[in-house]
Symmetry: D3
Subunit: 116 residues, 6 copies
């Protein structure tokens, strides 16, 4: 059931570790900035994850979408709110976003089954 969620998270963790092991200074510092970007500041963490999600969806990055959907759920974003984020992405990015929307909803369905 939750096969894709588990597989995604395991590959993500394993490869992030492999990337950091290469010990490239620019890459390591980029990863640091990437973490910093989502920490609460003038905007709270929840809003920032929603921003990350819509940005990932218009750029059509399935893995980024999966990651931010997961984070949004952890921070209490509801499914109705997620669909409004999807709707903005769809209108801004057009029908080429639809295949990514399908995979996002399939991923969300898996997450919801896991928690159900």
């Amino acid at each position: 059931m939750a096969g894709r969620v588990k597989e995604f998270n395991e590959f993500r963790s394993k490869m992030n570790q492999r990337i950091l092991e290469a010990d490239n200074r620019t890459i390591k510092r980029f990863f640091g900035v990437d973490t910093l970007a989502y920490e609460p500041g003038a905007l709270d963490a929840r809003t920032k994850e929603m921003l990350g999600l819509v940005a990932s969806m218009v750029l059509r990055c399935d893995d980024c979408v999966s990651y931010h959907v997961q984070r949004c759920k952890e921070l209490g974003v509801t499914d109705a709110e997620l669909h409004e984020i999807f709707s903005v992405a769809l209108v801004v990015g057009g029908s080429i976003v639809i295949p990514h929307l399908r995979r996002a909803v399939a991923f969300l369905d898996e997450l919801n089954e896991q928690r159900g």
Copy 2:
């Protein structure tokens, strides 16, 4: 043989239904506009599907390409015409289109075997 064609169409139908079940007004109306865009008007349906195909290919959306290749075949676009559409996409979009072209031709081969 026709495994990918069948799998693609089943996932597409199932997830479109899941998306519409969420009952988000913007998404539902977007899907309506997406259908309207390919209805015959000043241009016939066949030309519009060809436009949808080349747009999908330069934007490198495999699922969109598969969908429009299928629709083009249904509307009588020949394989030679499909390859001319691919050639415009390739020149406009560059060599990064090639992996999508490979998958488009593999999908087309499956469609042709099914009908053969």
Copy 3:
């Protein structure tokens, strides 16, 4: 001073009118959906404009960025919040976003001078 803001808004209004005069059904309905997407629902209008802004910035659309910066300001988004939205866009979209960030900040400076 506020030359760019005025010029942008006038060209935008004039050409939107010219586009709608062409009376193409799909285009007119798309414009309707585009308006609907930012109306308050599960998320409030302010959050939706912030989503529209970050999406526009990672897609590197200067006019879309100008429009959403303006709307965000109207809905009370502060300059510190705008810069956090910019920071997410920058990290997600990379250094190619920087020229658009420069123009966004120049536009914001003009808006602030107008209101000052």
Copy 4:
């Protein structure tokens, strides 16, 4: 009136010449393939220019759009047909296409005034 059309065509011609003067073999052969792509074959030249136009618009390349709008007009594509091409580009590419659509219609207006 026709200032933008003239300016666009003059810059385009002048810089194409400068590019070819650099005598880079790959670039020169690419330009040859770019010409070949729009020559009539299984599809006629008119259809191919329409394909080039929609591809340029979803990729949001104003100069490419201007060029193909001009070529389409020369090959007898009507304004209603052009707007249908624009409508497909808009639905496939989303609202970020709108600023390019505004500039395309402004360019088309100039072309029509010139010929009027």
Copy 5:
């Protein structure tokens, strides 16, 4: 172990052949230009492959990345150099490049195991 490398290369060869069999002049000449672009000239082949790799990575084309990683290795580009190329791609293209970086490093790991 080297399953992905082998599978990638076999599908690539097979489909390139299928594409060329369609005998579309534009496509065949584009493939010729694509080969020519990487031949040594003012820049050596090694530098050109590095250029192809960074371009493929910012455009987020996994297959293109796999191909150029392989070619770079054949031309003696070290793993530390590859990671510097990845780091430029990451900074220019942003965090949406990360999933492609993960797959690039996984592919590189396979290549290194094969040769180890």
Copy 6:
């Protein structure tokens, strides 16, 4: 003569300063990483600028292209080498790169006149 080069560099410097004045931690650290990415390491600075140039060109960012063309010239990249970088960008990114190539060559011409 060198109007565009001067105007580009002045706007760039002025707005970078304005951006950093906003004192957003993520943005400031991103700018630091962006500088770090081009410092010599496993690859020398010259090669890294060439990588930055080709990446900017396939992503069709005129300002980024202008910046890296300037830096490449400072580091001794010849015009023939620049055109080979352009040729790789053109083949990878397709004909939509051509308008950016025209502006890159116009910018290069200005730089060369300045130094002549």
